[in-house]
């Protein structure tokens, strides 16, 4: 009996360890993302052969910080759709937070006329593997020899509350550096966000 208990404990520990070990870090190559979009179609990063990379942003409907950045996410996609398209992902538990359900995502996307994909990470596996902690949480991806590599992680800019007072546009500055073939200077930033609502 105790052996079984120990075995179960070891399995549980290794599952936890797997989540920690596989959370991506800067310069890691990411696996493809295969998730359903609000239009019902499955989306893969391979659907964008001409893109130079991606602005992957974990976001959601209900969080005040995600709302504060919604317009800026729309603008980023307007500016970079052909080179670094926005891939928005919602990983929140839609049962505990009905505002973040797949149905609510479809409504939000239509209402705000998103021209980028808004993917539903129902199993939360994608958020786990990225190590995403909150919304919004950005991962800037650059294609390097057919590998999708993480070049920047963190906030969109340095002022969530007042767009006109922004001094550093982290994501745009990172893209500008990549376009010039230079190194990204600010590779990681921290920002307040709503914790991802794990199941």
């Amino acid at each position: 009996m105790t052996r079984i208990a120990i075995f179960i404990m070891l399995v549980l520990i290794s599952i936890n360890a797997a989540f920690i070990i596989y959370a991506y870090k800067l310069e890691d190559e990411i696996k493809d993302v295969n998730l359903p979009n609000v239009d019902g179609k499955m989306v893969s990063l391979e659907d964008y052969p001409k893109a130079k990379g991606f602005i992957i942003v974990f976001t959601c409907n209900h969080c005040p910080y995600a709302k504060a950045y919604e317009e800026r996410i729309i603008q980023l996609n307007e500016k970079y759709a052909s080179s670094y398209p926005v891939i928005a992902i919602n990983s929140n538990d839609g049962v505990a937070y009905p505002d973040d359900s797949f149905e609510a995502m479809k409504k939000r996307s239509a209402q705000k006329k998103y021209r980028f994909v808004y993917l539903h990470d129902e199993s939360q596996a994608v958020a786990r593997i990225f190590g995403a902690a909150k919304t919004p949480h950005v991962y800037l991806i650059h294609k390097e020899q057919d590998k999708n590599v993480i070049k920047y992680v963190g906030a969109i800019d340095d002022n969530y509350s007042d767009e006109t007072a922004v001094k550093k546009h982290y994501v745009e500055e990172a893209i500008a550096a990549l376009n010039k073939g230079e190194k990204v200077i600010i590779k990681e930033t921290k920002a307040i966000g709503c914790s991802i609502k794990w199941k």
């Binding site: 969080c63 902690a133 930033t189 921290k190 920002a191 307040i192 966000g193 914790s195």
Partner: protein, 157 residues
């Protein structure tokens, strides 16, 4: 008789709701580093975060029950412009008498790592600072029982 009743009721009316103190990072840092021998329970919240607001009463309970051993510091991260319309009503509704700061530092990357390097910035979040300035981060909702256990664990030799 009537005056006696008034005297008995005075303590209830004297527990006034906390007044928000608006600070920059330096002001909060000073409060976090203040060596008064108490364990500091530092909770970060905004009015728009439902789970954060639901957590407030237990921090208040902790402040009232363990006030001699612990110092509860509630750090509100809302915009200063909604202090009167949104923040104060939440404090009044929950009868908050613990210390409340409004941290007016929109450049969050400049201070999150200084609170605790391992903090991603996700809220709800609570940082517990013991008397030796060791910091423990809880990037989740804490129950009252968990909070009490953490305090007891710190007190153990």
């Amino acid at each position: 008789m009537k005056s006696l009743l008034v005297l008995l009721l005075v303590p209830f009316f004297m527990t006034q709701t906390s007044t928000v103190e608006v600070v920059k990072w330096e002001g909060l840092e000073k409060a976090l580093n203040n060596k008064n021998g108490k364990i500091k329970i530092v909770n970060f919240w905004i009015t728009g975060c439902k789970t954060c607001v639901e957590e407030l009463p237990q921090f208040e309970q902790l402040h009232r029950s363990f006030g001699s051993q612990v110092e509860v510091i509630l750090v509100n991260l809302d915009k200063e412009s909604i202090e009167e319309t949104k923040v104060n009503p939440v404090l009044e509704k929950n009868r908050i008498t613990a210390k409340v700061f409004l941290l007016n530092e929109p450049d969050q990357n400049s201070w999150i790592g200084k609170v605790e390097p391992s903090w991603s910035g996700a809220i709800p979040a609570t940082v517990i600072i013991d008397q030796n300035n060791n910091r423990r981060l809880y990037e989740k909702v804490l129950t009252y029982a968990e909070l009490v256990k953490i305090i007891h664990d710190i007190h153990k030799p």
